[in-house]
Every structure is written in structure tokens, then in C-alpha cells.
Symmetry: C2
Subunit: 262 residues, 2 copies
DNA sequence: CGTTCCCTTGACACCGATCAACTCTGGTGG
DNA sequence: CCACCAGAGTTGATCGGTGTCAAGGGAACG
């Protein structure tokens, strides 16, 4: 059900009449984070969002082994990259939020080496790979922004390796929360320490390399320390600096030139 | 002590007279893995290797926070990407072997979010970023190969998250060994189950999220199972299929179109 | 009003960390 | 030539963080 993304204060104030697909606003916010886009660039980005599909929660957007013809962009909702092991266990290797690309690498690498699943009902733009390639050539600023997004994704992957490799459970979860807050803030989906967090504890477990049971206990601990408030999919971080300190969170790896907040 | 990279059968058969810097052969082997390079492309790649520096073991090639002016390419020896945590512990997030790029992302991202350290004495090509950028435009096939290399690196990062997140110690190490073998084979530095592995157990520990003590025990176990032979920096995998089975190793994520071996 | 999904709790087992010592090797210098 | 030293590998004893298993509770949904 469309419980997530009830319109926020940020979205309000726009002309309500024309049902303009504001999903792509997130994409544009993200792409213009480094270098501001010209109106032509922005129009091109908007055109990418013209072919929108709705995906149900728990449905795969792409499967491992697929050779996608489109580049997929998350416009609304959450998704996750994941790999499954022979024993059936799952490791989530990235969370995808509005504005994120699922498979920009599909333009160069033939086959998906992992799957992408919708964690909530989601709106996903399907962009023909050819269109992306042409765009990258015709609009170099935009092309560069696309590559930039890929490289930041890579930096996030490195950060995740550190997270699962060297941090203990409680800190690991704290770091994940800090990252999600920072990334959501960048696209206007988090502010004042609050954001929607439509993740089950099992999903968090699969992302942090823990078990759901232990995630539960660690979340309780974070709540007991007043570092986190969770209620019905809404997360509140009362004191971001405090949480960041516990997590050892240094946002430099997100490469936000335009700072959102410390 | 140039103990590593004693000339192999593969390297033999070339004209020995001119001291041609064959370090770049590894680079070319890697870049031509997907699409064969024209002689012009190859010449361009060779030119990238013209400015070679020697780096001592344990010296940083780049530090976190640096804004490099060059793209660095490993021509000989091993290096590692790493991040250090507030408590001083280190997590290695990638191994770099001959043919690998240290910081192709430097052309787009300003600041390094991690350091790169030489694990052995190494030869490193310093290429001006501008040269790389021009090359990527003038020689599109080569430019594409560069991006391809970046995307494969990204796939390897995902694989590492799975490794530290969901595999137990022994299997984790086995998987790392499989990956290294496959990658080295691609550039002609591994064959017949043998390759040089100049890593201390501490380094392996930092890469797998374990302690040196436990790495030691797990390596002993792998040896006791006849899955691995280690002697003075030389690794032998008597039965790759068996090790791959233990590791749950599926090389698809390395995106080798030109298969080296199963 | 039962079913399903998710969160929660407790008892217990175990993998891997920690701490500390010892060996072995190669290198260095007296 | 031998004493010494530093770095790497090895071993054993013990501790603790997470996993595992199992059961119960609560909210949303049909």
C-alpha cells in the first residue's frame, strides 16, 4: 500500500494541478549535487523519467544473469541490490532510494552479477540504454554526472566492506543509519533528523551481515541510548552528531560537494 | 630483492634485447580482455606506462584525502586499497595487482576516500589525468575498456561485501584465493594452479575482516584438506574445482568474456 | 476472527577474538 | 662466525559477541 511517501512539507508548495511526475525531482537533485545542470540538461534528465513502471514490494526489478535493455532509475520507494549464496542466505550489498540508478553499468557490462528487489512498492523509470548513451555524449555535463553517481556508489560499497568487516553489530547498524540519513537528505527525503525507513529488521540484517534477532537487540540498545526513535516506518535521529560519533561516521566517502549538513 | 615476477614461460619468447618495459603488458592484457584493441589503442596504452615510479613496500601510493593529479597503474607488485577506523584497525577493501588502476575515479571525484599502500616493492605508472581523459575521447574503444575496468572493480567490491558479510572464515579465505587466482590468470600471472602470493597473514586478515591468528588457523585447515599449498610466497591450488566448490566461487562477477579457465 | 508478517524475548551453543608465549627465518652488526 | 634482532608464523587457553532455536505477542489484513 502506498503508506510511504505521503507528501512532505518539501513537496508541498508546488502547483498541484498538473500531475507532474515529481519522482524525477529526486533524480535531478542527485545529479545536480556536484555540478549544476543547465535547463537543457535538466530537460534531458526529465525525459529519462518518461517511461515509468510500478513495481510491487518484494518483486525483482532485475535478476542475476539478466542482460537488461534498459537502465532503471528508482523514482519512488526503496530497492536493494543483493546476492544469494549457495546455502540460500542473502546479502544485500546496496540500498537504492529515489534518484538512484539500478544498472548504469548495464551499458558496458553484459550480464547482471546480482539481483535488485523492490523493498516497497516502487516507481521505476525504464530508460533505453541507447538513450542514456546518446545523452552522455550529447550532454557531457549530464554524462559526467551519471559517471559520478556510479563512482559514488562504488565509494559506498567500500564503506560497506569496512562496515561488515570491522565494526561490531551496534556500531554497524548506527553507521548504516547515518549513511541512509545523509543520502536521503541529499535528495530531500530526510530533514531535521527524520526520514521514512521502510525496512524490516530482516532486511537490515541482510545488509549488515547479522541475524534478525541480533539486529532487534541492537536496535533496542540504540533506542535505549536515545540515539534512535523508530515508530511505524518512521525513523528519528534526535542527535545526529551523537549517532555519528558512535558510528565513526565520516561522510567524506559520499563526496557531497554541496554540503547538506554535517 | 626482486624475488617476485621472475620471468615466466608466458613472457619468454619475446625479443630480449631492448629492455622494453613489459609491465604494461599486464595492463594491455587486462584492457583487451573484453574487446580487442587496435594497434593504435595498444600504442596509446603503452604510452600511458611511460612515466614509471618505483614504490617501496609498505609505502603509501596515495593517501586518504589526497587530490591526485595522476592516475596510477600498477605495473609490477601488489598494492591494497584500505580504510582505517577511529580505533586504528584497518580494513583492506581491494587488492591491486599488475594491470589494475588505483584511482581512475580521480578524474571525476576530487578527493580520495581511502588510501592505497604498496604491499610489495612495486612499479607504478603515473599518468596525467588529462592524458587519460583525452585518450578516453580520442580512442573510444580504449575509453570504454577503462570504464569497463572500473565497473568490474565495482563488481568485485560487491563480492567482497558478500564475503565478509555472510561467509565463515575458512570459506571466506578460500573465496579470496579463488578470486585472486582468477584475476591473476587473466593477466598471465597465474597458471596451472600456481601463483605468487606475497601477502602476510595479517594482510589477509585485514582483507577478510578476521584476526591474523584465525587466518593462520584457517590456512592450516585448508592445507590439511589439500586445498592449498603455501611455501615462501608461492601459492599452489592443487584442485581448483575443489577449492571453488568449498568457496562457493562463481566467477561470473569478474565479467571475463574471454574465459581463462573454469 | 483467523492468518500472516514482523517484532520481541530467553536460553544456550559456538565461532572467532583476545592474550600471551614460543618458534623460525633472514638480516645486521660486532 | 656468531650474537642479536625484527618480522612473520604458530600454538594454547580463555573470553565474549553473535548465531541458533524456540516460543510468544501484536498489528494489519482478508
Amino acid at each position: 500500500m502506498a503508506t510511504h511517501h505521503s507528501s512532505t512539507a518539501i513537496e508541498a508548495g508546488q502547483a498541484p494541478p498538473a500531475a507532474k511526475p515529481r519522482g524525477c525531482d529526486r533524480l535531478i537533485a542527485k545529479l545536480s549535487a556536484a555540478s549544476s545542470l543547465s535547463s537543457l540538461d535538466e530537460a534531458a534528465a526529465r525525459e529519462m523519467c518518461s517511461n515509468v513502471h510500478h513495481v510491487q514490494a518484494k518483486r525483482d526489478i532485475i535478476r542475476e544473469g539478466d542482460t537488461p535493455e534498459h537502465v532503471h532509475v528508482i523514482l519512488e520507494g526503496w530497492a536493494a541490490r543483493y546476492k544469494v549464496l549457495p546455502d540460500g542466505s542473502r546479502q544485500i550489498v546496496a540500498f537504492l532510494v529515489p534518484g538512484d540508478f539500478c544498472d548504469l553499468h548495464g551499458t558496458i557490462l553484459r550480464e547482471m552479477d546480482h539481483g535488485i528487489v523492490a523493498l516497497t512498492p516502487a516507481k521505476v523509470a525504464f530508460v533505453l540504454q541507447k538513450m542514456v548513451q546518446d545523452l552522455a555524449i550529447d550532454r557531457p555535463v549530464l554524462g559526467r554526472a551519471l559517471w559520478r553517481a556510479t563512482l559514488v556508489d562504488e565509494a559506498v560499497l567500500r564503506s560497506w566492506i569496512v562496515n561488515v568487516g570491522r565494526r561490531e553489530a551496534r556500531v554497524r547498524i548506527a553507521h548504516l543509519l547515518c549513511e541512509l540519513y545523509a543520502r536521503l537528505a541529499l535528495v530531500g527525503l530526510a530533514a531535521d533528523g527524520e526520514f521514512e525507513l521502510p525496512l524490516t529488521q530482516e532486511v537490515i540484517a541482510d545488509a549488515t551481515g547479522l541475524t534478525p534477532v541480533h539486529v532487534n537487540r541492537m536496535l533496542q540498545q540504540l533506542r535505549a541510548e536515545d540515539l534512535l526513535v523508530l515508530e511505524s516506518g518512521q525513523a528519528t535521529i534526535p542527535d545526529f552528531a551523537a549517532l555519528a560519533k558512535v558510528a565513526g561516521f565520516d561522510p567524506n566517502y559520499l563526496h557531497r560537494e554541496r554540503l547538506v549538513r554535517a
